[in-house]
Symmetry: C3
Subunit: 340 residues, 3 copies
């Protein structure tokens, strides 16, 4: 679908300040190096300022007009947010038709809200409830007694197991598994006896979960993902974990059982947290790092085991000077031996 | 499903010692902080002893009666095992009806044992054999000539590729892939030629495999997971790996090709092993660590490259004292320069 | 399927030098320790030379006849390539019949080339194009307007989302997700606003992608995997990443958004790259390592943060001598104090 708008109209709808020719029309959004005169582009990361100067875009979304003088500009303090809005306006995603595909297997005991779309080969179990306007993609499997809120996008091949609950406006990317059993075994004499995992997963409103990410059901009670949290691909969230609101879990993060994260926590790519920890609000855990004890609110920690980020940076500098240190020591030893 | 039992009956069935009022009835199992008078709860990790004291649970499973005086207690040396058994008794999981869902595609050349259940949209290929009492979940794909034992739970969207063999009483969580091709290429002049992967995967009895975990088929011969081993989510087991019996592979572990693990090995979360290694019995590999050479039986190793765990702990202490070390060295240098 | 050939014929077809009895017939390929008189085996890794000596194989593929004297040998400079070819000849993989399985849901607006096979429960969306000879496995979901080239193997339960393009002769292992949304959010006042991901993924010819690996669609433009690149299981490739030709991404690698890799890059298992980086041609990134700045062509880097591999090796040696260093320092301090 293509939508064409003048820059003046677009500026109005985005709440942006227009610098340049408001009569110019745009109908697509493209990266700086690919955009032509009928495309909008954007400059978010100053690293690409030179590319913006060379760009042939019809207009550029930018935070500061001095970054790309001589171009038609839409100036906003948050050009990346402007991009989000512009994409919604100029490149609206085609919506599937409401209704149930003839190859889907919807249990007669399931309740589908108004305007729900259920894709080909999907499975909706008994006792399920799917809110109005939600799209259930092809090949999705909803186990018995699953609740999905309104306006969700459940992409192809997602599995939500028995009894789990997804809020409103959630996005589950392909291959997500919600409610697989937690990894709980009682080991006696070297034999691992399965502890039945009878809890559920609760995903609050406005959460997005990336492709092939796994969120395990609780042993008892709930594993919970707080409102507005965004989770990237291939992330592991173990049983009974509590993730606060507005948090970001980047790709390949792993969180062990019963650990709780406060609101607005960021775990960077490939980082991890041991089990039964409390991670405070607004904590940042650096990429590839792992925390093995509680972390106070507001800390930025890195490394394994994680330490305050600045200490880690200094430690790395010193590590690379170990050779020099050793030489200084040898020199002193030589001096002292000489004097004997 | 709910089952109600008196504490006296429950103690008998668990083989636990009852401390308190045996006439009290329980019909659910809940965490300490959520349990009410008709719930059983449990205290496994002493970290939660204070919570046990405050709990309103009708009874608490505990290893030592002194940990929660004043409560009705079921005392067992292994309260976590008690929890496993109590959950089986009080919260039995509903079983799907035997039979083949009308939307499933079961090849006429497949053999299904007594009481097998095949879920909606599942695919069972030609030459497959599925043992009695096994549940094949919705959307599962069994390739040609796959063998699944008795009493297994193959959860939704699992794939088992051609010729692979799963033992009895195995549990495969959603999204597991058994028998994808190993990563084998013969590189000549920068071109990577695929080496056909014609071996299989053999999963022995009583193995559990977590959501979206991948176990690759062997180039030749078998990739093998030993009896009673439990594997968490998002784990990678490469071609021709041999995992011994009773081992634990925690989430996001990766094992490279042809490495063998002895019995009762533990690989903690996000750890890894290079290829063609021998990891002895009862080895523990710490979280986020990676082994790049053979490890003798009984060792506990951590770090990258992995070293004995105690050495790693000491090394970390010293690393954090590098600044101090450098200052001591500077002081000596100053002293010596002064004396010149 | 079994094919039987004399060693003389096989040597001819492989272009190998025959040492021994050309009349011997082989009809299988097995590992050294399992092979019998009618099997071919191979010696690729010199680590297994002793096993080759003991092997009962009818013949062994080897680079140097001195490695296994007294056996029938097929000598080739690249025995692993020989193995690849021998497996194709002796153990050809059975091909599914062309045609669409009756349970598949192929949109009438999709175009299937000659000899295409579509498996049970697969979904092919409107506007899709599938090239001649391609196999679409059971449970695969191709979204709208997806293009798949000729001669591909799209294994069970793969998802390719809207508009993405796969080249010729590509292999996608089970559970792969191509074209899930990139992880892009504009955060304002702690609220993460989704940035629509309207770009696509382009996978060039001769690429293989491992089980449950995820390659995200671009925000704008393309995420691209270069010709002949091979990707292992559980790998994360973020939006707008560009991977060059002939590269190898080993299991559990993660590449953050907008990073570009030159041709013939190797990222070893569990390694990572931060976003917006340029990784030059023929760079090697060691296992479990992560790069956080650009890397020049030809470098071999290891560690976190990554440094030249040799420096990393030396640093590790020094790290293990920290105790000794500290003792040397203490001795000097004692000497100097004594002299005061």
């Amino acid at each position: 679908m293509t939508v064409e708008l003048s820059l003046a109209e677009l500026a109005g709808r985005l709440g942006a300040e227009l610098v340049g020719d408001g009569a110019v029309k745009v109908r697509g959004v493209r990266p700086l190096n690919e955009a032509g005169p009928s495309d909008l582009s954007f400059l978010h990361n100053p690293k690409y300022a030179a590319e913006a100067m060379r760009s042939k875009a019809g207009a550029i979304l930018v935070s500061n007009p001095e970054l790309a003088p001589g171009h038609n500009l839409l100036v906003m303090p948050q050009p990346y947010l402007g991009l989000a809005r512009a994409l919604e306006i100029l490149c609206p995603e085609p919506e599937p038709e409401p209704g149930v595909h003839p190859t889907a297997a919807v249990n007669p005991g399931a309740v589908l809200g108004e305007g729900v779309s259920v894709g080909a080969q999907a499975v909706v179990g008994p006792g399920c409830s799917v809110g109005a306007g939600t799209v259930i993609g092809a090949g999705v499997v909803l186990g018995p007694d699953v609740t999905i809120g309104e306006g969700c996008r459940i992409h192809p091949r997602v599995v939500v197991q028995r009894g789990c609950r997804i809020g409103n406006r959630c996005v589950l990317q392909p291959g997500v598994v919600i409610g697989g059993d937690g990894f709980g075994f009682a080991t006696v004499d070297g034999v691992h006896h399965k502890v039945p995992q009878v809890g559920i997963v609760v995903v609050e409103d406005d959460v997005e979960i990336g492709s092939n990410t796994c969120i395990d059901r609780a042993t008892l009670g709930e594993t919970r993902i707080g409102r507005g949290t965004k989770i990237d691909n291939l992330v592991q969230v173990a049983h009974n974990v509590q993730v606060g609101e507005g948090s970001l879990l980047v790709a390949q993060v792993g969180i062990s059982g019963s650990t709780s994260l406060g609101h607005h926590v960021i775990m960077a790519g490939q980082s991890g947290a041991a089990g039964h920890l409390k991670i405070g609000e607004r904590v940042i855990i650096g990429a590839k790092s792992a925390v093995i004890k509680d972390v106070d609110a507001g800390q930025f920690v890195t490394g394994f085991p994680a330490q305050p980020h600045r200490d880690w940076l200094k430690m790395n500098v010193r590590l690379r000077q170990l050779e020099k240190l050793e030489k200084r020591l040898s020199r002193l030893e030589a001096m002292l031996n000489e004097r004997r």
